[in-house]
Symmetry: C2
Subunit: 211 residues, 2 copies
Amino acid sequence: MEQKSDRKVPVPTVRRLPRYLHLLKRCQANGRESISATDIANRLELESIQVRKDISYTGIVGKPRVGYAVDELVGAIEDFLGWSSRTNAVLIGVGSLGSALLGYSGFQKHGLDIVAAFDNKEEKIGMDVHGIPIYNTNELEQRLETLEATIAILTLPAAVAQEVTDKIVKAGVKGIWNFSPIKISAPDDVIVQYEDLSAGLAVLSIKLGHK
Amino acid sequence: MEQKSDRKVPVPTVRRLPRYLHLLKRCQANGRESISATDIANRLELESIQVRKDISYTGIVGKPRVGYAVDELVGAIEDFLGWSSRTNAVLIGVGSLGSALLGYSGFQKHGLDIVAAFDNKEEKIGMDVHGIPIYNTNELEQRLETLEATIAILTLPAAVAQEVTDKIVKAGVKGIWNFSPIKISAPDDVIVQYEDLSAGLAVLSIKLGHK
């Protein structure tokens, strides 16, 4: 068997793994114990060869005529994605998108605990949103020392995104999930993942023929 | 000059257009009147040939030594994406992600007005979230007649996503932005765009080496 650590995982595979996980958890909820690659493929409109290949990265191989043991595969995908352990995150920029994300419980299911939020608006500081306290952005470095947060979610206006990035990188943040509509520069050992909700809306809009 | 309508626009191009738009709007805010493809490329860490090609789909061509007129390009991208006109949308499923999206003002900037939300939980019906009324899901077909909504945002549990899809398709919805973690079937003339926030988190997690 190949060692999973020897293989670089393609990004499209990584992006599909959460979809397998969603489906498998529904199977668990229904008491189903095993599922074939073909069944997964049919339900998600993928090719079964693709499903088998994606899943092989987690180190799990299906059994002929039985498929995958659902519980085992859930565990393997969660382990593989690091979602079976907890990671602390902070969110910076409590505007409309930031507040929205603070209210979204989905991240917790994936091992991500947002432990604090930061903003520079007087009226927001000291409040909490869905139980998450909002601190002053100028306390970022000091607070990050004790929060043990390795991930920062940036939902900031473009104008201040780089300045804040420089601060949090210095304070030891290793991963940045950037929802701000701007490219940011960070050292090579810091991972930056961009997210742009308007990209999906653009594709939908174009396909709907609004042009 | 090529006619934009004669060319099929690649999805990656469409996904990049909102990023150009974000940048151009910052230029407008700073009173800047023109920008070159090279400058856009540098700021977004893209290749300038890519930028020129993407922008050419909107029908706009830059001038040598001047570049693009910022105002003109903003208008062209917004027209191209259909974001200069308004589209009504409904959101179905006011759980944590649904509530979050109702609180996100970013869609309005892109011409999308969420005019109503639907849920089947007694305690939510009749409430409003950020000024958007929540109706009973069993009134979907009836309400959709008067709401003139062509887009539905689905933030539903997987178990009911298909049933609701069938209803809204019958009621004339032409585009579905599906945040539910499940594939849905719809007629060919209905556009379905999938969005999975956990996919981005998976990529970040893997890159951070949690495995």
